[in-house]
């Protein structure tokens, strides 16, 4: 059974179509990265998955339970971290953790203590006296400590410093090792690249690309940078390759598809150095957003 499954999920707010027939499937044990710029519909997706907002069309299920029709049942195996920590100002950190644990119906206390140490949270402080990052830690610890089968995380590391970001990644790796599923909505690409098995890219309410990092890379352009010992030769037109000058004696080639024609074209030229790299997630991501309205070739 899939941890998350949506079919034709739509959400309309007045005249705006915030989410356009989204079809998602996240398997049990999978860590899924959900990428998109601000306003792409990431938070809307999560609100629909939690049954906080009502779908305008289509349906969403968590572990086979309908999110809107039976929210309570669908939340039993889920823990959620919101992008903004909305907690009760007059409760202390410890009281908050206890409250959220009781409402969830139990938590792994030993693991919670470990997480409190790992994230260096001062639990006796009242929430109103905590900085945004520290309030975010309270939420994260509460969610992670439940050991829920599915973690729904909406930009969970906003407000965390780099050390805590590392602690977060370590905790996600632990969750994965225990077979938990993770749905990580984010716009921090390095984070997604580091922990996710599969990535979906959302733009203006539509899923424009989805796959493992290898698949996405394969479909996207690869960068080849060449410098020459002599004058820069004219390589002529090559299919699927765009050529741009790089410095006085170099070329930067963006290659989509096979690299073989490029190698063949370079065979008779005085190549001094050749450097090829796969696109980073950032490049894949930007590739989808630089295209304006076209959906790109990915």
């Amino acid at each position: 059974m899939a941890a998350i499954r949506t079919e034709g999920l739509c959400k309309r707010y007045g005249d705006t179509l915030a989410l356009d027939s989204l079809g998602l499937e996240v398997a049990e044990g999978e860590v899924y990265g959900y990428l998109g710029p601000n306003g792409a519909g990431k938070t809307t997706t999560i609100r629909l998955l939690l049954g906080l907002h009502r779908p305008s069309g289509g349906r969403a299920e968590l572990f086979g339970v309908d999110c809107w029709r039976d929210p309570v049942e669908s939340h039993r195996r889920v823990a959620y971290v919101a992008g903004e920590p909305f907690l009760w100002p007059s409760l202390t950190g410890e009281e908050t953790l206890e409250f959220l644990a009781r409402l969830h119906g139990g938590t792994d206390r030993t693991y919670r203590d470990l997480l409190v140490d790992r994230f260096a949270l001062e639990t006796s402080k009242k929430v109103r006296a905590l900085s945004k990052g520290n309030r975010q830690k309270v939420q994260l610890i509460a969610a992670l400590a439940t050991r829920a089968d599915l973690l729904l995380l909406d930009e969970p590391t906003s407000g965390l410093d780099p050390l805590m970001e590392m602690a977060f990644r370590a905790s996600i790796v632990e969750a994965k090792e225990r077979g938990q599923s993770v749905f990580l909505s984010s716009h921090i690409l390095s984070e997604v690249e580091a922990v996710c098995d599969r990535v979906g890219i959302l733009r203006a309410g539509r899923l424009v690309d989805e796959g493992t990092l290898e698949q996405l890379r394969h479909l996207s352009a690869q960068t080849v940078e060449v410098t020459f010992a002599g004058p820069v030769p004219d390589l002529g037109p090559l299919p699927g390759v765009t050529v741009a000058p790089m410095g006085p004696a170099g070329l930067r080639l963006e290659v989509s598809g096979s690299i073989a024609p490029v190698i063949a074209a370079l065979a008779d030229t005085p190549v001094a150095s050749l450097f090829s790299r796969e696109p980073s997630l950032e490049e894949i991501f930007l590739h989808h957003y630089d295209d304006g309205d076209s959906r790109g070739n990915g």
């Binding site: 929210p71 309570v72 909305f86 007059s90 202390t92 009281e95 206890e98 409402l103 009242k126 109103r128």
Partner: protein, 544 residues
């Protein structure tokens, strides 16, 4: 040099612009409250002279009224000391001044704390101060905006009483007396905003000062030999200004001097402290207390605890006072005809201890209904602040959450009602008034049916139009109450007066309990509340 001068003038133009922007924002932020208060001021100032002429047309009516009420402690407690009850002006000054001065005090406090503390709590003040405006200018701009709002209230009261047929000069002065406490309590609110670590504590501090001022006025007006106390409370100064009854304008120096002093003192503290914290610091760490955390309702009770205690103790105290003074009511010298006219004011006969308590419990009915609305406002606040998302993302159902909030509201309303009944009984017994505990518990319980109805309506407003829910809920209660009060007074046809739920109350202990009316109210309330839950389960959560 020329460039320097030019930049200098550009800079001062920039900060002037910023100052205007802050003033405008302060006015805009509070426009709903300001306009509601202005309506209230105009309505009260208009209605009093009209109703006096209407109810007591002849000198003999006025004489017997003055005789019965001029010295009646129960009435003086509510409205303050009367200097002349034989003229329209004197009566209006008493009724208008007595009620509006208290409202003016509340307005001043709310306006000051809103502008000076709530802005800071929300973090918006930081944003403003990070711009081209200094603290001094920001403070002056806020005070300027509040002064404008008070001027509007003055004009409303003035226009109302002129329209009610009072002389122009006297009306202007009466309006001035009525709003004078607003200026003083702007100062109190400003100082409280500097001392308190957050908005809530600032309001509590200011509220305590208002309560103290009111208490001092009550003691001064009702106890012989304590008249001098009137000189140490802003509400007493409003009386001592004596509109229409031998005005003493020199007394105005007192509120003016005190408010200027307080505003200046607050400014001094403000310029020297850290933004975001008060002089009294809040306790930020506490040992964990894990009781009342097992359900959203328990946690709501925990969060509302302080406010519940304030409601309970203030209603309880007031009920005890009502009980104690019910004894001082005497029917001697009141003609049957006059008593009947008075009953039309919506209170029934007030000339016996039971009658007086029945009249007073109409106000407790109002208060408990308003409390029910405040609970729905608190529920909406939880959603607006998006903490409800945190809750509903857990295995917590919407029905369980809203049902729990409604049950909590009902339980607390019952506690407040019964406290009022029991303490009024205790107060009355302490003076030897013969009234049974069961009757007074009944008087308390009689507050509940309308509260159930308004709780249901407020919940429905919350489910249907969450952002406007609190306004609608409070508005419904206020309209229904005023409808009853003025509908009866202006002699509207019975079917029209009967539109308001308050017309279907038996005012226990003065009248017998209206079981049919109560049953209808409760049944309607329950049906509407069920509808609210049904609707709430079907809508999106909506942030602020």
């Amino acid at each position: 040099m020329a460039t320097v001068a030019a930049t200098g003038s550009a800079r001062s133009a920039g900060s002037r612009q910023a100052r205007t922007a802050v003033s405008r924002r302060t006015l805009r932020d509070s426009r709903v409250r300001t306009i509601s208060f202005a309506y209230l001021f105009a309505a009260v100032a208009f209605i009093q002279p009209i109703s006096y002429r209407h109810t007591y047309p002849t000198v003999s009516d006025r004489l017997s009224f003055a005789h019965a009420f001029g010295a009646n402690k129960a009435v003086v407690l509510f409205y303050g000391k009367a200097y002349d009850l034989l003229t329209v002006g004197g009566y209006s000054a008493w009724r208008v001044g007595g009620t509006l001065s208290l409202f003016a005090a509340v307005f001043g406090l709310l306006a000051a704390v809103r502008a000076m503390r709530a802005e800071e709590d929300s973090g918006r003040a930081e944003l403003v101060l990070a711009g081209v405006i200094g603290r001094r200018s920001e403070y002056v701009a806020a005070i300027g905006a509040i002064a404008t709002a008070i001027l509007l209230l003055w004009f409303a009261a003035f226009a109302g009483s002129v329209a009610g047929g009072l002389a122009v000069g006297g009306s202007a002065y009466l309006a001035l007396a009525a709003v004078s406490p607003a200026a003083v309590f702007v100062g109190v609110g400003a100082v409280a905003s500097q001392l308190a670590p957050n908005r809530r504590v600032a309001l509590e501090l200011g509220g305590a000062v208002i309560a103290l001022a009111f208490l001092l006025r009550v003691i001064a007006d009702t106890s012989s030999g304590a008249g001098w106390l009137r000189w140490i409370t802003p509400l007493g100064w409003a009386e001592e200004l004596r509109p229409f009854t031998g005005a003493i304008p020199l007394v105005l120096l007192l509120p003016v001097a005190v408010s200027v002093g307080l505003v200046a003192a607050a400014a001094r503290i403000y310029l020297g402290r850290d933004i975001g914290s008060g002089v009294l610091s809040a306790r930020d760490t506490a040992p964990a207390r894990l009781a009342l955390l097992s359900s959203p309702t328990q946690q709501a009770l925990r969060g509302e605890r302080t406010s519940l205690l304030v409601w309970l103790s203030s209603v309880g105290l007031f009920a005890a006072v009502v009980g104690v003074i019910s004894d001082s009511i005497s029917s001697a010298g009141i003609s049957k005809q006059l008593d009947q006219t008075l009953s039309k004011l919506g209170s029934g006969s007030v000339l016996t201890p039971k009658g007086y308590m029945g009249f007073s419990f109409l106000f407790f009915v109002l208060v408990v209904s308003l409390f029910a609305c405040s609970q729905i406002a608190a529920a909406r606040h939880e959603e607006a602040e998006q903490r409800l998302e945190t809750l509903l993302a857990l295995p917590v159902g919407r029905r369980r959450w809203l049902g729990g909030r409604l049950a909590l509201a009902l339980g607390a309303a019952a506690a407040i009602s019964l406290t009022a009944g029991v303490l009024a009984w205790a107060g009355a017994r302490s003076q030897g008034v013969s009234v049974s505990l069961a009757t007074m518990i009944g008087a308390g319980a009689n507050c509940l049916p309308p509260a159930v109805l308004f709780l249901g309506l407020a919940a429905l407003a919350y489910a249907a139009v969450p952002r406007a829910a609190a306004g609608i809920a409070y508005g419904l209660v206020a309209v229904a109450f005023l409808w009853q009060l003025f509908g009866a007074l202006l002699g509207l046809p019975k079917w029209l007066v009967d539109v308001t739920p308050f017309a279907h109350l038996g005012l226990v202990p003065a009248q017998s309990f209206d079981a049919a009316g109560a049953a209808v109210m409760v049944a309607l309330g329950v049906v509407v509340a069920l509808g609210a839950v049904w609707l709430f389960e079907r809508r999106d959560l909506i942030g602020s």
